[in-house]
């Protein structure tokens, strides 16, 4: 009988597997580096480099001016990077403030329950049911426009979906035995929210915050483009785009193409970072 027993062959995989996880980590590293480089480059560009150069107006893309020049001869590459820098600053700020609101409300709702939870859910539904752009325009104007208006407008509209995700997670943790035991040990609701619930929310929070960013900068640019956001003297992408509208018909395509494409690329990049973090954190896809 013993001879008949076959040895089970354990499949030998390669020592280093290049799977989803490795790809995700590389993508995150790459995009994060590009992101930081743009941020640093944007902060290093001095104000006076955006000078008027009337000998060089409407130069098409060349080696000296890769993105061309505009109607006063300013280098469009510099304008685009400064614009992206401003957009990214606004995006980061809005994403962080939205995330803070989402965490506070998402945890407070289920932990305190009852009327508070009802009001928070109602607020989420209310904000979600109105088109974002409309609310941002209204809030932006109501807050006096400019940077403050944009930031408040984007923040008050972008906390909702993350709040829902966090609320669902908190409701699940709240029903776990260890949270109930903690109550019986006489721990306060605040202690439970901070020590038991919050660590479980961190993965969702990181992914959610990163994913708010592209929304925020696209909304900022579109509102500015429409003329309700940042004032025309700011070096914002939205300002560049609305300005370029005047010259598009006369064939100055580079004025809109490069700034617009960079903005879309940056948002896609950050979206990609968010999705990849999600892949790594999610247990279903983490070890593929």
């Amino acid at each position: 009988m013993m001879e008949q027993v076959e040895r089970i062959q354990v499949p030998q995989g390669p020592l280093f597997k290049f799977g989803v996880r490795e790809k995700a980590i590389i993508a995150i590293g790459l995009f994060a580096t590009v992101f930081i480089v743009i941020l640093i480059a944007g902060s290093l560009i001095p104000e006076d480099s955006l000078d008027v150069d009337l000998y060089n107006i409407f130069a098409s893309p060349s080696l000296a001016h890769p993105f061309g020049t505009d109607w006063v001869g300013t280098d469009m590459l510099l304008r685009t990077i400064t614009g992206l820098y401003l957009s990214m600053k606004i995006g980061i700020f809005c994403a962080v403030t939205s995330a803070i609101i989402a965490v506070l409300l998402g945890i407070a709702g289920p932990i305190f329950g009852g009327k508070i939870d009802y009001v928070i859910s109602w607020l989420v539904d209310l904000v979600l049911s109105v088109p974002h752009t409309l609310v941002i325009i209204l809030v932006s104007i109501a807050c006096g426009g400019g940077l403050t208006g944009i930031v408040i407008g984007v923040t008050v509209t972008h906390w909702t979906s993350l709040t829902r995700v966090i609320r669902a997670e908190v409701m699940q943790v709240k029903e776990m035995e260890y949270t109930k035991i903690s109550r019986k040990f006489g721990k306060s609701k605040l202690f439970i929210a901070r020590e038991h619930v919050f660590p479980h929310v961190i993965p969702q929070l990181v992914v959610g915050t990163v994913l708010i960013f592209p929304h925020a900068i696209l909304h900022e640019a579109s509102i500015t483009f429409l003329g309700f956001g940042l004032p025309p003297h700011e070096p914002a992408i939205g300002v560049i785009l609305s300005e370029s509208m005047k010259y598009l018909t006369s064939g100055k395509w580079w004025l809109a193409f490069f700034p617009g494409a960079s903005l879309v690329l940056v948002s896609m990049m950050v979206e990609n970072i968010g999705r990849n973090i999600e892949k790594i954190i999610n247990q279903k896809t983490a070890y593929m």
Binding site: M176, E177, Y178, T179, S182, K184, F185, G186, H196
Partner: protein, 219 residues
């Protein structure tokens, strides 16, 4: 001090049938009472009601000789069956152990908890090791009654013996009442002063004098 359940009835939804109906139960300080019933007879539900995790549909749980407090450390503590669900997976063991205050070192040693476990995550310990933490957490001066719901059901005999030994010694020393809920008639027969059964013709009468002889015979 006495923990008393008066005519407890319980059902999860209004339309469901009763899981527990008119249950009377009481336990004195320092007493070890066994609660015996087959699966699905509401042992765990009764445990949760006694410890205040669920509210009974009708009837009440009274703790005689103790002021009722809604907040603060509960005098009646429940030990759950599955230790891996009763600890926060995002906490290290030292934090889990000291959540209700750090137990004295001799108790930790008696429970067989090693210092090297303290800096691990719950997933890095076995069920038996985790259950030691869950048991020692409720061994406190403020605990008046312990309800052990299938506390050692999934553990091997040696670990069972060690954990029960520590819990019962502590309970005796501090005059804590222990409700032992188990399928294991041998265990109940060994550790309990008195056995109560949830079974019976009407399923709603707890006879304090169950056929103890029968249990002994089967062991």
């Amino acid at each position: 001090m006495r923990l008393r359940a008066e005519e407890i009835s319980f059902k999860y939804n209004n339309n469901d049938k009763y899981i527990l109906e008119d249950i009377d139960f009481s336990i004195e300080s320092g007493e070890v009472v066994g609660l015996l019933a087959p699966s699905g007879y509401g042992k765990t539900t009764l445990a949760k009601i006694l410890a205040g995790y669920e509210k009974p549909t009708s009837g009440q749980v009274v703790l005689e000789g103790c002021e009722s407090r809604n907040n603060g450390y509960a005098p009646v503590q429940l030990i759950f069956q599955h230790p891996e669900k009763a600890v926060n997976p995002k906490w290290k063991m030292r934090k889990i152990l000291s959540e209700a205050g750090m137990p004295p070192q001799e108790l930790i040693d008696a429970m067989g908890i090693k210092e090297s476990w303290m800096d691990r995550w719950p997933t890095e310990l076995s069920g038996g090791e985790l259950q030691r933490f869950c048991c020692i957490r409720v061994l406190s001066e403020q605990t008046k009654f312990i309800i052990a719901d299938e506390m050692t059901t999934m553990l091997d005999a040696i670990t069972q013996a060690q954990i029960w030994n520590v819990v019962l010694t502590y309970a005796k020393k501090h005059n804590i009442g222990v409700v032992v809920i188990s399928h294991d008639a041998c265990l109940i027969n060994k550790v309990c002063d008195r056995v109560v059964s949830l079974t019976g013709d009407k399923r709603d009468v707890i006879s304090p004098h169950i056929e103890t002889n029968q249990i002994s015979a089967s062991c």
